[in-house]
Symmetry: none
Subunit: 247 residues, 2 copies
């Protein structure tokens, strides 16, 4: 994979047609990006149709990281954007492509790892995918005709990356207490709370359990936690369990 | 044709494949543009392949103006941009897509008619076409891989038009579920956690208690909580206490 310390990783989530994967690779490389991840491609991997379409950018496919799911693809990232056309009920920041890539450039300059999720053709990202993201990117399309395909969406984001990253000097945010938590650390925190709250009977009634879990995961993702925050929140839950066990 | 007093006319110069004409129409309409001109299409006009590809944006093809050459297509325009990948010997201003569409928006607001020329697949615009333009637009592609196709070039210009002409908000947080929490609500949440965690023996050893409380308060403040978040976090803590009390 291309070096994720100098660029965002573009994650194609459950892409369907090989042609679109190849076209996405070309779109990325047009603007100098070459770090691609793919989760659960419908037609398996490698895909000859993707290779045929990628001509000239085939190296991106050879080097693409393959993952079973979004959680695996973003495990090492500290900030995740989800591109989405539809509005979502999830409360999290919504950026224009320009603002998102400006922010990504700043974070990457400060040593963070950043991912951008692109959903499957037709259906787009599911709420469960979006819940793993820190923010949403929304392309300002014509509300009467929003028909960007996968490669076009990748093209616009790659174009904005190049616009933002090539000329602009960025500020860095000083971190008093160590680094930002990685995605996998936040996922583990979410699991810890979900498990314990499950035992405690929090997710009730059952028909509301999934929605409650989604809201909770979305909250952790939105918070921009540092490693120290994650440790503290683990400590909070562990202490409440200890208190219970002392009876 | 769409109204050229409110938008630039996009002129496809000697386009070859019908599919690309249809895809260009879709790309335009994605960003609210519907004024298309076509000069000397290779495969004649109308073109059924263009119609098939344009689905949803077919109206742009129905209304497109057909011309024999560039001179005819831009006859009524006061300013013409030529998109081109290659450098030219012709001495004229070169704009980024962003700067070009910002300028176009200003001119159109002042009552001018503006056209943007897009060359045929493979060969691009000829010098004779470029010579009719007031300025060149150059997309900042990767110099090692400049392979934008016609519809992609149209897409980027249309995207920049919309960015420049329609006010784009760069960051919003949609509040699906009620308002942001007020300061006093966040303070009460912090107190709730502090009280219960105090009872549970979390703030230990005593000399570190103040620092731990400060970190926890700082976390709640940093999070930008909604009212719904605050209720959920109260619920989390109440449930842990209930669990303990059930023994």
């Amino acid at each position: 994979m291309g070096d994720p310390s100098s660029q965002p990783v573009f994650v194609l989530v459950r892409p369907q047609m090989g042609e679109n994967i190849g076209a996405a690779a070309r779109a990325m490389w047009n603007f100098g990006l070459d770090a691609m991840s793919i989760t659960a491609p419908r037609d398996g991997w490698p895909n000859p149709k993707a290779v045929a379409m990628a001509s000239g950018a085939g190296r991106l496919l050879d080097n693409a990281r393959l993952h079973d799911d979004v959680a695996g693809a973003v495990a090492g990232c500290s900030y995740v954007f989800a591109t989405t056309a539809r509005g979502r009920d999830l409360t999290k920041p919504v950026f224009s492509p320009e603002a998102a890539m400006a922010r990504a450039a700043g974070m990457i300059a400060a040593g963070e790892k950043v991912a951008v999720l692109f959903g499957p053709e037709r259906t787009g990202l599911e709420n469960d995918d979006v819940a793993r993201a820190n923010a949403i990117v929304s392309v300002p399309v014509n509300p009467d005709f929003a028909s960007l395909n996968l490669a076009q969406c990748v093209l616009l984001m790659a174009y904005e990356w190049r616009r933002q990253a090539v000329e602009v000097t960025h500020e860095t945010v000083p971190l008093g207490k160590g680094d930002w938590a990685s995605r996998i650390e936040v996922d583990k925190l979410a699991e810890h709370y979900e498990d314990r709250l499950g035992q405690a009977g929090f997710f009730f009634p059952p028909e509301k359990a999934e929605g409650m879990k989604l809201n909770l995961r979305n909250l952790w993702s939105r918070m921009r936690l540092t490693r120290a925050d994650v440790q503290m929140l683990h400590g909070v839950m562990r202490q409440m369990v200890r208190w219970k066990e002392r009876g």
